[in-house]
Symmetry: C2
Subunit: 239 residues, 2 copies
């Protein structure tokens, strides 16, 4: 028996849907609004700083506490540098950060106050993901500011210390590994929303909002997820 | 009617009690144990840093939050400098701080988690009192370390910002003034205990513990209380 064309109808549809070529977004090609981007990054740094010092304060081991305090210090230095850039533009940092505080606070509230190792993982994965994102995104700002912000965000805040703490925890407690794997998966969706929020501020090469076409944004998010998965792998956690 | 000598009996007793001349302790003349003192100061800085960043994070106004984050940054810089001194002595900071962590943690627990303005006051008064104390105490360490630590602790961590926040609060809410006055009085006893703890480590010029003779320690504590009272006055609070 012949079933000519069986299953075929779907194929052209699929092809047709993909047909209008979509220019994928390269983050560095976007035109972010400088003050929006700097304000957002500054506030996010402030939030990370507070998270890091709170996580440090909850460490039971004084060496871990010192190590995470080091992360807090590095993040605070980044915050201070971004604030200096805002001030160089004649902006008060509190005013520049204000429009983004509610959104980022919501993100923090959604993550809640998980157990200590989960909080360390948040710091590692969430800062990892968003630093990747914002470093690439900031590269679209005019020089010298753009490259400067990108370089700043690419500076290691001390991930090795966080990785060391997490690996030691996982090595000594098998249940912790599955708890952390779950948390890492739970975390990524909320964190991507923060990146999306920043993309919504940007304009593409035609001056159009970038988020009106999901297909253009998707590759950016997929790339962030791929890097997130590698971070999970490095900890021996299933992403 | 004559009441010769009325009330007199007390006078000779008072005089007699004061009779055996007590050499008052001048903090700078004591011989603190350097590693104990540095470990204690380092841990106290770490605790203040965590308090400051937590207080910053609870600020409802972003400018206040930035200002208190600045205090956290200054305290963290002091911590980092003391840690560097410990490391120059070949000590790991976590090990050097450890003996003092329980005592200082107890102090923090006793203070609890008061309302926001109370926490700002804690930062101002407690850091003010103990920085005075430890700066004078550290001056007894051999040069160059002693003067260096003293100079470090005399560096302003940003008290003006804290005073500004407190004065604005008091100006807009009369009940806050009485709440803060109460808190300031409540605070001083626990804070003096931390100074006492450090004095207990020190030896006097004869190599004897300084705290065995209360009368020698009292003037030091009285001086700290007098300065505390001036800080309260500056805020318009009754000490």
């Amino acid at each position: 028996m012949k079933w000519p064309g069986r299953g075929r109808p779907a194929a052209p549809r699929t092809r047709r849907r993909a047909a209008p070529r979509v220019d994928r977004i390269a983050l560095g090609d976007l035109r972010p609004d400088p003050e929006a981007l700097l304000g957002r990054i500054a506030y996010l740094r402030l939030a990370y700083f507070e998270t890091a010092s709170a996580v440090a304060g909850r460490a039971t081991d004084l060496s871990d506490r010192e190590a995470i305090t080091g992360v807090a210090r590095n993040v605070l230095e980044q915050h201070t540098a971004i604030v200096a850039m805002l001030e160089a533009r004649g902006l008060e940092s509190a005013v520049a950060m204000h429009p983004y505080s509610a959104e980022i606070d919501r993100y923090r509230r959604r993550l809640g106050e998980p157990a200590w190792h989960e909080s360390v993982l948040t710091l590692h994965l969430s800062a990892g993901l968003l630093d990747d994102f914002f470093a690439a995104f900031a590269a679209g700002l005019p020089a010298p500011e753009g490259p400067e912000v990108a370089r700043l965000l690419e500076t290691d805040i001390g991930h090795d210390a966080l990785i060391g703490i997490l690996q030691a925890g996982v090595a000594s407690d098998a249940r912790l590994a599955s708890r952390l794997a779950l948390w890492g998966r739970r975390l990524v969706g909320d964190t991507l929303l923060v990146a999306r929020g920043a993309l919504a501020d940007a304009r593409d090469e035609h001056g159009d909002p970038t988020t009106t076409d999901e297909r253009r944004v998707e590759p950016v998010l997929n790339d962030l997820i791929a890097r997130h998965t590698r971070r999970m792998d490095q900890l021996g956690l299933t992403a």
